[in-house]
C-alpha cells in the first residue's frame, strides 16, 4: 500500500449530503476482477451523460478541479454498500484524502486499506474548508498526517483526530495481513480455546 505522510493539493467541494457508494461507483462498473482502472468511472452518473460525454457542471469536470487530490464532502459520505470499488475508484482517480462531518463505517475502514485518509471534522470546520475548496485550483490545501493538521490556502490550521493504529499503518504503508500474521500464536490459542468452549461452531 502507498504511504500517506503529507499531501498538498487541490480540494474539490462536494457539499451534497449522503453521497452513497452507488454514486461513487455505480454497480455496472463492479464487474472487473481487478483493483485498478475504476477511476474513469468515479462518480460516473454525476460525471457523464449516457453517451459518455462529460457533464460540464460536475465539479471534477471543471478545469480547476480536474486534478483534485482532496474532496471536501457533505455529511455521511460513502453510505451504502461495502464495495471497496468505491475507495479503489477514488484512489485511482488520484484523490488521497476525503474530509467530511461523517463517513459510513465500512467505507471509512476501506479507505485506510487503500492509502486514502478520511478525516472527520465538525461542521464549522468543514464550512471553512468547503469555502476554501470553492476558491478553485489556486487554493491548495495541505494535509499533514504526522502533525494531524490541515492548512488552508490562507494559512488557517485545523487539527484533526485519527486512530493511532490506522495512522501508523498509513504512514508506513503497512499491510494489515502481514501485521496480523505476526499474531498467529494468539489466533491459534484462541481457536483451541473456542473449540473447547463452543465445539458446535
Amino acid at each position: 500500500m502507498d504511504k500517506f505522510e503529507k499531501l498538498q493539493g487541490i480540494a474539490a467541494p462536494m457539499p451534497l449530503v449522503n453521497i452513497d457508494t452507488d454514486m461513487i461507483i455505480p454497480k455496472i462498473h463492479l464487474k472487473s476482477i481487478k483493483r485498478t482502472g475504476f477511476g474513469k468511472n468515479l462518480f460516473d452518473e454525476m460525471r457523464y451523460n449516457r453517451d459518455g460525454t462529460e457533464i460540464p457542471d460536475f465539479v471534477l469536470n471543471k478545469p480547476q478541479y480536474r486534478d483534485a487530490e482532496i474532496i471536501v464532502a457533505g455529511d455521511n459520505f460513502g453510505c451504502g454498500s461495502s464495495r471497496e470499488h468505491a475507495p479503489w475508484a477514488i484512489a485511482d482517480f488520484g484523490v488521497k484524502c476525503v474530509v467530511s462531518t461523517s463517513f459510513a463505517d465500512i467505507f471509512f475502514n476501506n479507505c485506510f486499506k487503500n492509502g486514502i485518509l478520511p478525516i472527520v471534522l465538525p461542521q464549522e470546520q468543514i464550512d471553512v474548508l468547503m469555502a476554501d475548496a470553492e476558491k478553485g485550483a489556486n487554493a491548495r490545501m495541505t494535509v499533514d498526517l504526522v502533525a494531524q493538521e490541515i492548512t488552508t490556502s490562507d494559512g488557517e490550521v485545523i487539527t484533526f483526530n485519527v486512530d493511532a493504529f490506522k495512522k501508523h499503518c498509513l504512514l508506513e504503508g503497512l499491510d494489515d495481513i502481514g501485521l496480523t500474521m505476526e499474531k498467529v500464536t494468539a489466533i491459534d490459542t484462541f481457536e483451541d480455546k473456542a473449540a473447547q468452549a463452543r465445539p458446535w461452531v
Partner: protein
Amino acid sequence: MSPKTLYDKIWDAHVAHESEDGTCLLYIDRHLVHEVTSAQAFEGLRMTNRKVRAPGRTIAVPDHNVPTTPDRVNGIENEEGRIQVAALDKNAKEFGIHYYPMNDVRQGIVHIVGPEQGWTLPGMTVVCGDSHTATHGAFGALAHGIGTSEVEHVLATQTLIQQKSKNMKVEITGKLQPGVTAKDITMAVIGETGTGGGTGYVIEYCGEAIRDLSMEGRMTVCNMAIEGGARAGLIAPDQTTYDYVNGRTHAPKGAQWEAALNWWKTLFTDADAEFDKVITLRGEDIQPVVTWGTSPEDVLPITATVPSPEDFEGGKVDAVKRALDYMGLTSGQKLTDIEIDTVFIGSCTNGRIEDLRAVAEVVKGKKIKDGMRAMIVPGSGLVRAQAEEEGLGEIFIEAGFEWRLAGCSMCLAMNPDQLSENERCASTSNRNFEGRQGYKGRTHLVSPAMAAAAALTGHLTDIRDLA
C-alpha cells in the same frame, strides 16, 4: 462482573488479541463470500502465497450477477458477469471452501442461503463482503459487511482488525397494527434516525413488537440496520430462533445442540446494562411506509404527501431538491397518487418464504394492472421450491407476475433485471439510491404486501385500503 449488552457478550467471546490501544483481532466464525467482492481477495492470497486459514468456515455462493430467468442453465450472457462467477467457481474449488454453484438448488442470495443452511447460529461472528450481512444479526449473531481487503484478511487469518462500536438500543414497544410489517418497522426506524444515525453503533432491536416477529421478519429488520449507518443489528435469540435453527443442515445436533442451547440462552442484554443511545418507537404508531426520495431515510407513511425542500435544513435541502427532480415528483403530491410501472419483489430484505406468502395473500385470485411489469424473485432455490410446494408460484403466475429463479435480481441491477430511464418501481429491496436499480430508475421502497398492492392498482397503495 459489570452488566453487559448482547453485543458486549458476543464481542468478548471473540477477541483473539487486544493491543494496548484497544485495537482487537476479532475471530470470525463464518465468512460468507459472493462473486463481486471476492475475486481480488483470492488473487491477493495467490500473489502472497497464502492459504484460506479456515476453509470449513468459509461459504461461497454467486448471487449478484446471476440471471434469474430459466435460460441461465446455458450460462451468463454478460461477459464480465460470467468471468466474475467463473472466478468464484475456480476460487472455491482451488481454496477448498463450501460452495453452492449457480445451478445448485440451494443457490440463492448469500444472506438467505446462510441462515437457511444453518451456517448462521446465535452468538457467532459472521462477515461477508456485502453490507447486508447485517441480516444475520436476527439470530443474535454479530454480523457485518466488510470490504475486499478485509475479505482477504479474513480468508488469510480468520480474524478482523476491529475497534469496538458503541451500543444502541432500538425498542419497538407494543403490537403492530394490521398491515404493518417488519419492513415498515425497519424503514420507520431509519426515518427516525437518518441514514447516519447508527454510524459508530451496533443496534440491538428489542421490545414486544420485535419479539413477536418471525425469524424472517427479524432478518428483514436487521438487514436494513446498515441503511441506518449501524455496523450491525442484533436481536437476542429466543425460542423463535431455536425453532428456526433446529434441524438445519449445518446446525448442531444431539449433545452438541444441547450444549449450544445452553450458551445461547445466556445471550441477552443484562438488565442494568447501559446503552450509549436509545430510540423507542411505539409499535401502534408505525404505519405502512414508503420512500419518496433517493435515500432510505426519505421515509413517510403511505398516507402522507411528497415533502418540500423547505421542510428540511442544512445540506439536506439541496439533497431533497435533487431527489425530487430525480424521482420526478412534486411537493404536495399524495404518495398514493404516484403511478408505478414496475414491481419488484425479492432481495435479501424480502425474498424469504414469509414475504412470498404475504404477497400471495394480497394477489390471490386477482390480476396485476394491465401493462404492469411485475416480478417475484425468490431469495434461494429452496425458497422457490417451498413456494411451489405451497402453491404460491401458481398464484403469482395466474395474477400475472413473472416467477423467477433465485438471485439478487433488480435490487442492484448488476444482472439483466434492471429499470430503464425514468421507469418507476415499487420495490421490496433496501436501497433507493440514484441508479441503484438501473440508470435513472426511480425506486420506492415498500413492504412485500404494499408492493403486491401496487402491482394490482398501478399506483402506490395503502395496503389497509385494499382489504
